[in-house]
Symmetry: C2
Subunit: 323 residues, 2 copies
Amino acid sequence: MTDTPGRLLTLLSLLQTPREWPGSELAERLQVSPRTIRRDIDRLRELGYPVEATRGPEGGYRLTAGAAMPPLLLDDEEAVAIAVGLRTAAGHAVEGIEEASVRALAKLIQVLPSRLRHRVAALNAATVPVLPGDGPRIDPEDLAVIAAAVAARERLRFDYRAGDGAETRRQVEPHRLVSYGRRWYLVCYDPDRTDWRIFRVDRLSHPQRTGLRFDPRELPAGDAAAYVADKLAGRTTVHRAVVTLHAPYERLAARLGTAAGQLEEIDEHRCRLVSRADSVEWLGARLAMVGCEFEVHEPPELVAYLHELAGRVGRSVEAARGR
Amino acid sequence: MTDTPGRLLTLLSLLQTPREWPGSELAERLQVSPRTIRRDIDRLRELGYPVEATRGPEGGYRLTAGAAMPPLLLDDEEAVAIAVGLRTAAGHAVEGIEEASVRALAKLIQVLPSRLRHRVAALNAATVPVLPGDGPRIDPEDLAVIAAAVAARERLRFDYRAGDGAETRRQVEPHRLVSYGRRWYLVCYDPDRTDWRIFRVDRLSHPQRTGLRFDPRELPAGDAAAYVADKLAGRTTVHRAVVTLHAPYERLAARLGTAAGQLEEIDEHRCRLVSRADSVEWLGARLAMVGCEFEVHEPPELVAYLHELAGRVGRSVEAARGR
DNA sequence: TCGATTGCGGCCAGGATCCGACCTATACGG
DNA sequence: CCGTATAGGTCGGATCCTGGCCGCAATCGA
């Protein structure tokens, strides 16, 4: 069996392990002569993979960071870990990379062996929703299907539940998937209505690729993200919370991160936080988690929610405290 | 330039795109004849990558799910998304895959171009801690460094802050990284003390690979995870919460997931939940998030914490409610 | 300072392999 | 029914790959 390309792939995967491989060990492992290993290393370098070598005893080869990403060779467990990690990130765990997460997830799912797919699904079922009151959940798997259809330029079929509750079945030309204000939107051209439409992904179910290719038309507005922002301006309710937190600035900055909102120092014991989100539950949970005394100034909905939360939590311990 | 193995790698990356590639297009792109493309596809199939083909017009090749993971070819943004996703997962977002996440992260970081590394760091700084009171945070990057040292069989140097506050500088032979009870532990042999030691990763700072290789010795206890569990038995305080939740079983099951603990139905309006965690803050936050009325029976620490929480949240809205 | 170990690259010869060209079969859509 | 796509066979010639040999350079430890 003299399978050169296969050997190169194996070599690449071995070198990806964070350790050094002496040429002799690689030769034995791949059942070829050390000379061939040297030649293979040369080949990899010519292909642009930065293989570094240290000479002398205890020396060896390893793959280092270069200009471009080498192909990642993963074992089963690592692939599952990445899939699960992406599924959480594709929600709104980290702002700014939602779209890339979904693309990567689509790529991964396409080639993920089915036995691993089951493990991913099982692990995901066991995952705790991080925040309450987050509105209808979307399945990251659905997002991946949509992203794949966008990339493949295939028509997409799905059921849509409009704002007034009417259910319709649609078949559209998906153009782009946009994450905006903690929600996902699909920008697409609807051939039945002969016009561009924006669908909320959380109101869409059973997306299916049809296999029907289409020639992508040009979006009138140029950029899809701007298009969504423009169309939705004023239609989404955003809650703006203004809070005084009784804790030093450094502690809060470390605690909240930069995504929480604008944090300003009032004096050495207090800070003012302005935070925006689309649900008061989310705002409330964040505040309750900070762990210091605080005062809420706005909005009234948040005050009402926190009042209710305090009552609920207070009642939960009354019996145990013997009152 | 007739570089067969390189062409195969390129082909693999092209086929990973979620779209179909007609043989003629591939031939033109790779500067070979269509016949060679067919042969290459054959080769890939022999290597175990399931290339599927649809015949007829609009047909083409694409890579589907098979028995093994093919090498993943990622663009910059996708690589960053995966790194960020893994960093969160390597915390304790999902139980059961922490170790695999760290391994995958170590592998990724090793080959991640430096310009992307900066983006990952920047995004991570903006990440919001998901849960409060989680004790000292661990930098997933540190975990990756440790995992790399374990895989490379290199000695590891770090500063350690013992339970009594004493700071020491250590150099050890890292053996394995174990995740146990929502904490990370490093099992290693300490040559200075000539004995096996377990270090808590959250108390360890500035881990550095030394480049000094060592021959791994055999752990007396066989399995590292069992060793940690054995040594730590009784030393970690585990809080066991018993709670009655006033909501139907189905709603709670969907809300809590399976990892929350044992959930039993009392009647159609109430359930009993037994949940374990190492911090009452964590338990308390989870309960407050459920969004229904509940009663806490045990433990007293949790009752005290929730009482404090209710007071804090209640006080935060007093001014706003004009009382 | 010296020796051992490891990577680096050139050379050569034999043999396996790859490529392109040509052909036919088959499946799918219009 | 035709055009286009994949699928696969065969063949000859060019190419490339492998393994063995060599001397050289770098590095580490004794």
